[in-house]
Symmetry: C2
Subunit: 211 residues, 2 copies
């Protein structure tokens, strides 16, 4: 997955504390994705960013504070840009979900590498390690599901569902996408994403939730 559009930046100027902070966040986001949180050391971040330990510590006093900022300022915007905004603005929920999958499949094949879903990667590695990490991951999963549940209410079948039932639909969509990304990452193939996109489509259609 790429860095969220909102986070792309110009190279930092000298005496550009905000630029330096963004550079550290980008590097941490990238390394947490490719290696994981525990396998990334502060030394790795210093090497990657060419920023001193002191400057790094100034922005992020602990590795934990850096990870929480990655959740909030990198992972949450990415879920918003990749999933929430496109589904909200799509002509139909079914069409919106299909184009999200298509975009992710096309991106994975262009890069010839599947790094998995940043939220899933960090959520699985960190949810049992620290309650603040778990809360940060859970908050993003909840925003994602809430947005989908709201969109479900606008469909022909969704209007007839209770709020908890719409929540179940949203949970199923997020779960099947998340698991498909895990399979795709392990297999290094977009096939599980294709299988899941197709199956979700028929499931939504049968329940009149695609409108």
């Amino acid at each position: 997955m790429s860095i969220p559009r909102s986070a792309r930046h110009q190279p930092p100027r000298t005496n550009d504390p905000e630029g330096m902070r963004r550079k550290v966040l980008d590097a941490a986001y990238g390394l947490f994705q490719s290696r994981g949180y525990h396998a990334t050391s502060i030394q790795d971040l210093m090497t990657e960013t060419n920023i001193s330990g002191g400057a790094l510590h100034h922005h992020f006093p602990t590795k934990k504070s850096l990870a929480l900022a990655v959740f909030k300022e990198r992972v949450a915007p990415l879920v918003r840009e990749t999933w929430i905004d496109p589904v909200q603005s799509a002509a139909s929920l079914g069409r919106g979900i299909q184009s999200v999958f298509e975009g992710i499949i096309a991106g994975a094949e262009a890069r010839r590498k599947i790094s998995g879903c940043p939220l899933n990667n960090l959520a699985l590695e960190l949810s049992l390690v620290d309650r603040d990490f778990r809360a940060a991951a859970d908050e993003i999963f909840q925003q994602w599901q809430t947005a989908l549940g709201d969109r479900v209410r606008m469909t022909r079948g969704g209007r007839l569902l209770t709020k908890p039932a719409r929540g179940h639909v949203a949970a199923f969509i997020v779960a099947s996408y998340s698991g498909a990304m895990t399979l795709a990452k392990t297999e290094q193939s977009a096939n599980p994403l294709r299988a899941t996109a197709q199956a979700l489509k028929s499931w939504l259609q049968a329940r009149h939730l695609d409108g």
Copy 2:
């Protein structure tokens, strides 16, 4: 998730190299589950098992060899016992899948803690780190999907499907379960598993794949 039945053991006797090996595997499996591979040190394993570094090294010369043994001797049997065997012996595919979910939900609620799916946890943490880890995780995912695909062929709707189409069905089942476990672990609630079990049931029924 608990340790696979086939791996439960008596406390090791003195001069019981096999017992010692099992003890190390059990401890590594548990720590990799609760903390992750990278966050578990050899020192942690020595403390947990009360086995010396030398003895540990005798059985597993590297941490990597230990992780590969955990995949093969702990994670693979668990997937077989939790998923493959029950689905193969169930009266119907739909019934088999529902009882797997019910068993996992009941277990999670009894333990009041959801550690996630051991295969998913390790696959996401390790797939990009080392190609042997990725191959080990992929092999288990493939066995799981092959067994499900074979079972799909025995259903009314599945008989009419091509082998790749049956593979898609299997991938969707594994993906939605896997993602539901990620959500359940992050939320520390069995609700995503319930939502997914219910949705999968209706999807299988509509395609006559539940028989």
